[in-house]
Amino acid sequence: MSPSSSTKGARPSAGSAAQAYGKELLTRLLREMMLIRRFEEKAGQMYGLRKIGGFCHLYIGQEAVAVGTIAALDLAKDYVITGYRDHGHALACGMSPNTIMAELYGKATGCSKGKGGSMHMYDAARHMLGGNGIVGSQIPVATGVALKIKYRNENGVVLCYFGDGAIHQGAFHESMNLAKIYKLPVVFICENNHYGMGTDYKRVSSVEDFSIMGASYGIPGKKVNGMDVLTVYGEFVDAIATVRKSGEPLFYEIDTYRYRGHSMSDPAHYRTKEELDEYKEQDPILILKKQMSEAKLLTEDEYGQIDEEMTDLSNKAADFADASPEPEIDSLYEDVLA
């Protein structure tokens, strides 16, 4: 891989790729993306009913990124760390929808016992190091996790996600340098959903192609189409194998799009309806559905069944969260210190 190679075209065509990966894997990717989609829709609805408060950043539209990248990991030795739009990564890491929804509800049964909320989904056992609410703050932490992997010769990889807003933070640039000089096994992933909150990334960036930023630090960079989960997955199977072998960092810009506002309170008036509709036609779920149908790996009935199942899981997650107890007041002072 060379720095700033182009975004499309290098991979095999979708249909043949689908054939190559086989039904089991593709079904898994589809299920995971649909779970995220239905879960987030449910979360949005419950936010509207005030079951969920505060900031709530939905992942709808970006599902292929978390699912395609994390599917390439071995979470026994690899790690995931991301920013505040973290529900999708948490689900892709295999965290239960119940514990995530309960966390959104602030319930004692939430993954963080109701103390983290939407931006702080953690699962130590699944090597999910959370959602971080400060833009870019997780990036230096990722280098530390990679340092430990290297120190212990674990042959693991850290996937560190952040957005097109975070890429201008000093933390990103310092971390890229550190990862390179210490040869740390970390893949920096800029999920470019085109808007840092309400600002079009092109308005605030000296370059439009983020993938060239790796070059400053001698780190190979590449731009990938994040609406096609098979492209993402295929790229990351290779990338992770490369890092396991070299022990050195990589940098990816994954081009994606969020359908919803930055958070639940954002009407997203900074973009046009036409733009949104255009992206919705490249919906990652529809693309995969089409790829699978064309490869005869998915029937309409099967799709409907998966949809129903994922909707049901999401509804049950909401029911579970609803029925779960509030944290005890006494828990207020728990877990401040070890």
Binding site: G44, Q45, G48, L49, R50, K51, Y259, S265, P267, E326
Partner: protein, 410 residues
């Protein structure tokens, strides 16, 4: 099964939304994510995306109509479903009221707010019922333990704050409130401003200046003879107190340290003997001051003193006429008191207490008992300034002058 479509909070602060426009009409198929309608929130107009799929069976809130968050705005279900139950019955999803009840911990509103009752009279503005005494917390505890009323202690801390050492020195000499007796009335008497000043000044003196006392009985014959001789030629009689003032001023010239004041870091020696005389008034005590007695003649002292006493009894003294005595005389002889001790009057460091002049048996020459005219003097001294020997020498010299007034010429 058909479900209600509920109004959602499309902004964090939205309580109610207005349907601007329905983008689907009854009978239309709705997919999850389809925009059902546009809603005007308190902030902006937002697309309402459906999180439910099916057929839009019923629009419950027409365009221009409003719905509170959690209230149904439509019903979505399968074609032909009976929705009559939904039109009347409660929604499947709990509304915001239930939600906030579940989330909300008992807030401050739940706690009973008790209005603190004020003690009767404490804030009633009754005059003189409450005097705030500046004191350290420790002093308050110690005073309470010792049963001492803080108001009776003169503080020596900053701005008169009563501190530990004040309570400790007061606890020895503290006066307990007398218990009520039959025939006497138990009441709280308001403290006049003057009484308060007296209390503060003398308490401060008593509890900060270490007092000691030297006593002397002097033969008053010489004084009386001199006074008789002077008054024989005068219409207005010169008082004994004027003589004592003059004599004290002369003794001060010899022992100037007696005419001084403890200032903490220094001792202030006064350049003039400004001598005060304690005068009883019906509502208290006042000490008019004759300035610079050492440079004035007896007649002038007497004249000034008479005028001051007159104005004192008429309550017409000006502050400059009764403040700043460097030495004070208190004479209770006219009350028939043989002898007593007086509290030093600040800023002075000594006060002379004078008893009555009367004949007493005295052991005279050859051990014979004789009748002599005696006057008993007690000098209270501030030990911080006046050591015992100085107090003794001063009083002895003053006694000598009284016995033999011609000595002032020596």
């Amino acid at each position: 099964m058909a479900e209600k479509v509920l109004m959602l909070a499309l902004s964090p602060t939205m309580e109610e939304g207005t349907i601007i426009k329905w983008l689907k009409k009854e009978g239309d198929a709705v997919k999850i994510g389809d925009v059902l309608c546009e809603v005007e929130t308190d902030k902006a107009s937002m697309d309402y995306e459906s999180s439910q799929g099916g057929i839009l069976l019923k629009i419950a809130v027409a365009e221009g109509g409003g719905a509170k968050v959690g209230e149904p705005i439509a019903i979505i279900g399968k074609k032909g479903e009976d929705i009559s139950g939904l039109l009347a019955g409660p929604g499947r999803t709990a509304g915001p009221a239930a939600s906030s009840a579940a989330v909300g911990a008992p807030g401050p509103a739940a706690a009973a707010v008790k209005v603190r009752e004020t003690e009767s009279g404490a804030n009633g503005g009754a005059p003189g019922t409450s005097v705030r005494v500046k004191s350290s917390p420790l002093a308050r505890v110690l005073a309470e333990q010792a049963g001492i009323d803080l108001a009776r202690i003169q503080g020596t801390g900053p701005a008169g704050r009563v501190v530990k050492r004040d309570v400790e020195s007061a606890s020895a000499s503290s006066v307990q409130a007398p218990s009520s007796q039959a025939g006497l009335r138990s009441e709280s008497v308001p403290v006049s401003g003057k009484r308060k000043v007296i209390a503060e000044r003398l308490s401060q003196s008593m509890f900060s200046a270490p007092h000691y006392y030297v006593r002397l009985a002097v033969q008053a014959d010489g004084l009386l003879r001199a006074r008789s001789a002077l008054n024989a030629r005068r219409e207005k009689k010169v008082s004994i107190n004027a003589f004592l003032m003059k004599f004290a001023a002369e003794a001060i010239k010899r022992y100037p340290m007696v005419n001084s004041s403890w200032q903490g870091a220094s001792i202030q020696l006064f350049g003039a003997a400004d001598i005060g005389l304690a005068v009883a008034q019906p509502d208290g005590l006042i000490t008019p001051v004759v300035r610079d007695c050492g440079s004035k003649g007896l007649l002038q002292i007497d004249a000034e003193l008479s005028g001051l006493i007159e104005r004192a009894l008429a309550n017409k003294l000006k502050p400059e006429e009764y403040g700043g005595a460097t030495f004070t005389i208190s004479n209770l002889g006219s009350f028939g008191i043989d002898e007593f001790t007086a509290v030093i009057n600040p800023p002075g460091s000594a006060i002379l207490a004078v008893g009555s002049i009367k004949k007493e048996p005295v052991v005279g020459p050859d051990d014979r008992i004789e009748a002599r005219t005696l006057m008993r003097l007690t000098l209270s001294c501030d030990h911080r300034v006046i050591d015992g020997a100085l107090g003794a020498n001063f009083l002895k010299y003053l006694g000598d002058i009284i016995e033999e007034p011609v000595r002032i010429l020596y």
